[in-house]
Amino acid sequence: MLTFRDIPIKQKLMVIIMATTTVALVLAGVGIVAADSLLFRSYLKRDLSALARIAADNSTAPLQFNDPRVAADNLAALRVRTHLVAACIYRPDGTVFARYLRPDSNSGCPSAGGPDEQRFSREGLIVSRAIILNGQRVGTLVLLYDLDEIAERMKLYGITVLGVLLVSTLIALLLSTKLRAVIATPISHLVGATTSVSETGDYSVRAQRFSRDELGVLVDRFNEMLAGIQSRDHNLRTALHDREEALRDAEKARERFRFLAESMPQKIFTATPGGVVDYYNRQWTEYTGLTFAQMEGDGWKEYLHPEDVEPVFEVWTRSLATGEPFHAQQRVRRADGAYRWHLSRALAMRDPQGRISMWIGSNTDIHEQKEKEDELRRANEDLQQFAYSASHDLQEPIRNVAVYSEILAKRYSNLLDADGRQFLGFLTEGGRRLATLIDDLLAYTRAGVVESNMTAVDSSAVLGHAISSLAEAIRENEAVVTCDALPRVHMGESHLQQVFQNLIGNALKYRKEDPPRIHISADHQGAAWRFSVRDNGIGIDPHYKEKIFGVFKRLHRDQKYSGTGIGLAICQRVVERYGGRIWVESSPGQGATFFFTIPEHAPRVHSAAV
């Protein structure tokens, strides 16, 4: 059963209006009737008092002359007041002197009360009035008035109120039918809109606004809310769509990666950002003879050579901490128990926020290459040692030739003719030149050896040493050597000095007429420092810019450019030994700028004491 709360707003409004109207009218009616009744009673009292006074005044003479008949006639004149039931005159002794009784009355005279009083009794309103003659009370007049008039008035009022109630209820009903629409229609529309949204899920629906009142505001807010929801719904749908698409793409990418990984000859693995290996391709299981379950997580320690576990773990841990590429050479055990050298690399894959999402790594069998490299390295070291010993041993006899031919020339030249002296000169000069060449060869050999226990050196200080060594040449050439702030680099101090010295020395040597101006600077490029030595000298034909780095390659036979032509070869050997490169940018007459790079981090090198 529907309660008041559950009935539609239209009906609720009607009930409220009708109930309010009825209650108001009934209360108003009751109030009016009650007030009128009170007023009327008061009026009756006043009216009857006046009547009693007049009647009392008229009764003094009959009482004086003791003529009850006249008194009764006087009283009978009061019959025009139809509601007067009785009028009686009492003598002072309380006996009735004269009276008038309405014909239909069946009661007698009302008892006389006090000399002047008005009181309502069951029979009606009783009014007593003393009859005074010459200041003396000669009698009392008592009137009894029935209250039927009040009842009649109340009845009339009741009918009027009821009539008004009926008419006003009717009008209220009609009015409310019209007016309730003002409130109920917008609400109905609002309800319609919400129902439509909830049933269809279409947030583009809008409720119609009918007014600027609270309902209008409610509709506006509701519409704004709908717009907000619509926009969020749209964004949500777009995001969902994008996410679905991304998931599809990711799945596709995963499939593609897996296919690629499985079809590659390399051993591929992936690891979580924390470094736990979570995927190995088929090549791994085939090569190691281990199952994925045996290799996953820390299982890689199983197949790695025991000597490689710790260093590789250290490098791997460092990469995990820094996010830098992992790079290691390691021995991996084959199913038959043989260990083969592998080059292992892994790169961190990052999400758009730059966070590492996974590591992807590959292992390439470099066993043959590694063996050949080792062989080559040993051969190189042997060759280097041989070159060093050979040139060292060569120095002694050459010095003998150079110094003693000079002594001969000094002490015995008078025993020789002009040809003999010239030939001796050739011998001395040849010996010296040979000694210089061997010195250079030795320097070149040493340039190929990277110092062990290398620490970072301050390249500004090293440049300072190089400039000091060249102080005399700088002064003679009136050269100006300037430099910017230079970094600390991982490089043997003597090697760096050798490079600076050779490059600045060349800049001094291959000068133009103007005093040489040489500037040294360095900038950071990727994972390396790039040094530059710029001069304003004669420059180099681009055609020769590779050739000049060859051993004993000289572009000028001219005596004014002395030297064996090994300086740049030494520079190149030093720089390349440290993992850098050297090149020149120049054009003839425009000066030259030599560049060389040195990796920021210390290279892993083999060392030999030479």
Partner: protein, 144 residues
């Protein structure tokens, strides 16, 4: 030109296998008029023998200065130097390493063993400067 006061001669042991170089060192000493008696050991073994004999025998010739080539036959110069530094009597012997080598490793090793370093030059005039170097060396070591 003779000096005003001639100090007592000191013994210089020259460990050198290359006779032309040994002659040049002697010529430099003579030209610099240094109060040195030069004895030559042509190999490392001979140099050690002379030192060890001097350590045991107070009558034997006692070197005050050693001029040492590195590239010596039998036992190389650094080994000779290490043994001298290990001896009680000669651990503080003034030593100049005179060699053709320009290797930084050799220079470092010589310095580590407390020896002066002189690289043999390829011209007579430069070579003969070893006389002046020796004079300064004797002064530095309080011998003259």
């Amino acid at each position: 030109m003779p000096r005003a006061s001639i100090p007592p001669p000191f013994n210089l042991l020259l460990a050198e296998d290359n006779l032309p170089d040994a002659l040049l060192v002697r010529e430099a000493i003579r030209m610099e008029n240094l109060p040195l008696e030069v004895s030559i050991a042509p190999d490392g073994e001979r140099a050690i023998h002379l030192i060890m004999t001097a350590e045991k025998d107070p009558e034997a010739l006692c070197p005050h200065v050693l001029v040492l080539d590195i590239n010596l036959p039998r036992i190389d110069g650094f080994e000779v130097l290490r043994r001298i530094r290990a001896s009680e009597k000669f651990k503080n012997l003034p030593v100049i390493v005179v060699t053709s080598s320009d290797s930084p490793a050799d220079r470092r090793q010589a310095a580590a063993l407390g020896a002066r370093y002189f690289r043999k030059p390829v011209t007579y005039d430069e070579f003969i400067k070893i006389g002046a170097v020796l004079r300064q060396f004797l002064i530095d070591n309080g011998l003259i």
